[in-house]
Each structure stands twice: as C-alpha cells, then as structure tokens.
Assembly symmetry: C2
Homo-oligomer: 316 residues x 2
C-alpha cells in the first residue's frame, strides 16, 4: 500500500470519550468529545461512538481499523470489557464484537495503560526497543511492559500494574490490601496530601491547592527547599519500583509519563540518582530513563497504533 493507513483511536475516559483519526504519530482530526456521564447505559454510549466512527470515516476514506483504550479491566483477546473503574454499567460488554458488527472495521480493545505504553513503544520515546517499561504518573500510577518485542498482558490481561507494586512490605495498606503500593505514595492525591502535611509540620502551612504536583514543581523551581525535598522523596520512591522492574525485566529503557512527570528534572534527577545507585552493570550501563513523548494524546495514538498492527497481522 503506498499511502499511510489511517486508524481511529478512541480514548474512553470517565469524563469524556475522545476519538481521533491517527496517522503515524499524529492525530490529524479530532471528533467532538462525547460526555461519558450523559449515558446511563453502555448501549447508548456505544451508539454515540459508532456515529463518531462513521462521521470520521466519511471524512477520511483511508481508515482501516479502530482501537479503543478503556479505563479498566479488559480482555484484550476477546475485546470484552469486564468492568471499568469509574463508569457504571460497563460489566462484561463485548465491545470489540459490537463495534465490529456495526462498523465493519476490525476493532481492538485494550486498557488505557497498555494503549499509552503502545504509543510510546511504537511511535514515541521507546521506539525501536524490544524490552521496555512504560509508567504513567497521575491520579493513578499505571504501566505497560514490552518484553521480547511483545506487549506483556499476562494470563488474565492484568500485567503492567506498576502502581500496585510494593515499595515497603510494612507500608500503608492500599486499595487491594497491598501494603506499600507505589500509587499510595506518589499518586497525585497522595503527593498533595504528603506535601500538605510536610508544610504543616514545618510551620509554613499551605492550602491543599498549593500542594498539587504542579504547584510543588513551581515552588521548587523558585527555590523552595521543602518542595525540592518532596520531589527528591518522590524520585526515591519511584526509583524503587523502577529498580524492581529493571531487576526483573532488564529493559533497554523506561519511559515515564503522566501529569506528575511534567515536573521534569525535579523528578528525573533524583529518579536517575537513586536508580543507578541500586543497579549493577548489565542493568544500568545502557539503560535509558526517558520522559514520555505523548501527553494526553498517548491513549488515542496508542489505541490507533495497536489497531493498525492488529489489522496488519490478522486481516491482510
């Protein structure tokens, strides 16, 4: 085929469902977002998604596949959504077959963390690697793993949950009973709460909205020593989870994205320092710790890239 094939990527979020037409690493057309909460049942929302797909196809005849990233637990092989973290009613929905029936296009459905990892692997910072760990730092801490040049989804599509791994076997008890889960220390809200407590204890109280990761990054950039120390501590905790990924998987690169990673060097400097201090030669000599290339578009780009790869392998 001489022309670059196009795919639709759909980033299904708790607030909105965003669809775009993706050409390689670029969203060349955005559909108007659908408000997720306008629909009390999956059927109506699926109809709205189908209409968006048809609208985009009418404008772009080169579209050959559709990829959907879902915020929850998905059976990738069968394209069934088992359940979603923040959207009611989405239980055991065979989304792939429903969309394929209604659009006639090949569809892949995966969880959003895998889509983000796929975007960075195929089109972003991790391009060209065969062994890669991608971590997304936001309200939740998620991840995706590539080993031997393949996505690792595990036996029941759960692999890549870096945020649930423990950095302290005697630590805080998390959502799933897991002690010391990374997410419970460096998730958005936990960073804010820790900062709020730390400022309070230091006698220079700050309101919660001045303790967000973005506010802490701004404060540290202006020389606030408490904020700098807080970022050092975040880097240290993240380094432990990344180090565990390295000892287990010996990746060529680790890509770090998500809102919290926008702190840049404030995060990456301590992360690198604590990480390299705790690995031996073969694990660190060629290791690259890279900021993610894609921001909020990662899910869309990754879902589309996955759809293209899948349709290449299975339909051509």
């Amino acid at each position: 085929m001489s022309e670059t094939p196009l795919a639709i990527g759909i980033d299904f979020g708790g607030t909105s469902v965003k669809a775009g037409v993706v050409k390689l690493d670029t969203i060349i057309d955005h559909a108007p977002p659908i408000a997720t909460q306008d629909f009390t049942e999956p059927a109506g929302l699926i109809e709205a998604i189908v209409r968006v797909i048809e609208d985009l196809r009418a404008r772009h005849p080169g579209i050959v596949a559709v990829g959907v990233g879902m915020p929850g637990f998905v059976d990738f092989e069968n394209g069934v959504v088992y359940n979603l973290t923040n959207v009611r009613g989405w239980v055991n929905i065979p989304l792939k077959s429903l969309l394929e029936e209604k659009t006639g296009l090949p569809v892949v459905v995966d969880n959003d963390a895998n889509c983000m990892a796929f975007a960075e692997w195929k089109r972003g910072a991790g391009q060209g690697t065969k062994h890669l760990v991608c971590i997304s730092l936001g309200t939740g801490v998620g991840g995706g793993i590539i080993a031997n040049g393949q996505m690792v989804r595990g036996a029941y599509h759960g692999a890549g949950e870096v945020g649930q791994t423990s950095i302290d076997y005697q630590g805080r008890r998390g959502h799933y009973g897991n002690m010391g889960a990374l997410e419970d220390y460096i998730g958005n809200n936990e960073i804010t709460a820790t900062a709020h407590d730390t400022y309070g204890e230091s006698g220079t109280s700050k309101p919660l909205d001045e303790c967000s990761p973005a506010a802490l990054a701004a404060a540290a950039a202006e020389g606030d020593e408490t904020a700098k120390q807080l970022w050092d501590d975040i880097g240290k905790k993240l380094a432990t989870a990344v180090m565990n990924c390295c000892w287990l998987l010996n990746p060529e690169a680790v890509v770090i994205g998500g809102g919290v990673a926008r702190a840049g060097a404030l995060l990456f400097e301590p992360l690198n320092k604590y990480l390299l201090d705790q690995l031996s030669g073969p694990f660190k000599d060629h290791l690259k710790i890279l900021p993610a290339r894609f921001g909020h578009e990662a899910g869309t780009v990754g879902a589309a890239a996955m759809a293209l790869e899948w349709s290449d392998h299975h339909h051509s």
Copy 2:
C-alpha cells in the same frame, strides 16, 4: 523422529561441574562430576567438559545437543560467559562456540537460574503455562520469567533477578547498593542470622548451626513457636516480592524451589496467605503457587531441555 531425542545437560557449579544425559524429565546417565577448583584456567576445564561429553556420546548415540547452565552472567544469544560469581578466570569466554567446535554438537549456554526456570516450565511444575515466574530460594535468591510463552532474558541477559528486587525502599543496603533486596532478608545465611538474633533476644539462645533453614523447619514442626513465627515472617517477605511479580506480569503460576522451599507448608502457608491478601481478582483467582518439581537436578534437566528446543528451532 520416532525416538525421543537425548541431550546432555551440564550444571556448572562453583564446586563441581555435573553432566548428565537427559531424556524428557529424567537424567538417565550421570557423568562423574568434575571438581571445578582443580582447574586454574578455563581452557583445562573446557577440555575436561569436552571429554565428558564425548564419553556420554559414546554410550548414548541419540544425543543431539548440549546445554550448559552457568553460575553467573552469560550472553545467551552468543553463548559467551561474561563472568562467574565464584569461579576465577571465566571472563569473556565464548563457551558455546568453543564447545561446538570441539564436539560438533549444537550448544546453548545460559545462566543457571534460567535453566532451572526452563526445567520447571517445560518439564516440571509450570508445564503448559505461557506466563510463569520461577523463584529459587537458597544462599542466593534467583529466578526466571516466562511471558507470552517465551523466556524473558531482557536487553542484556539479566532479567529474572527476583532476589535483588526491593521489599523495603528504606531497608538494608545490599550487594549492589539496592536497598531492601529480598535476598538480604531470606537468603539462607540471612535466615540463619535473623533466627540466631531472634532466639538470642528471646532469651533462648541457639548456636548458629541450629538456626539453619532446615533446623528451623524441624523446630517448627515440633511446635517451636519462635521458629513458626520466623517462617511466617519469611513467607510475608517472600509474598511481597511475589506479589510485585504478579502485579507486573500477571502469571498463571509461580513456582518456588531451592533448599529453603523444602520447609513446605511452613513456608507456603504464610506465603499464600499474605500473597492472596494483597492481590485483586484477575491476579489471584486462577493463580497457582507451586513447589518446584526438580531439586538439585533442575539445572541439568533445564539446560538439556533448552538445548533440545534450541536445536529444534535452529537446526532442523
């Protein structure tokens, strides 16, 4: 081929090099062990290994390949031994090509933890799985990982180092600078030292030789509450590292072997309890925690199995 092909498995240890003829899951003929320390240079030891291979071939004409498990850092693809943990002089030795030249047989060389994992995966407790974690508990704590039906060796052949992963980001500083490495808590010697301290503190001092994992298992079996508590604590710490493997890799099964695992239920009961308390449904509902099938023969069986698979894929 109507007859079951045979392979030679070689378990290269710091004390002795043991070779055997392997048929499926059984060593059908053992060569007399070679004392590793009799040789000050690799060349002489390699000659001795070649003689053992030729002796075994003379007795078993069906031998089609040779596998070698090495206690150290090996480039599997090129069959080069970079260095060994406890044997001097083995630096950048192209063992695969040296043995292939001298025997005319296809040879694979991997590290011993991968060979053990391969044995459990192809011939042992993990047979039939596509996503598996194997952990060996001894003086060192090692491991091997299978994902998507393939061994995961990582970018530089280091993957699977479960014993170096951290269970406490503020824990003891280990051999590679890594804080809170599992091996530094539940390696053979650390179990003994912890038990010695614990008995000392409780006022019922025990000599070190009554604090070995085997002695502790015997004591716990006779109702010693301190010993039982020690095993509970070992199980808890191991559970954290296993849990991290599960959140990252979502395996179907985790196989646990090595000397420390001979404690049986004393180890596996707390391990299961703490592990299942800290995983969500998709990670634990179908998860099997299994004792290894092979003991000290795992390395030989696994090296031979790997050699057979490799020669199948590349030479036929």
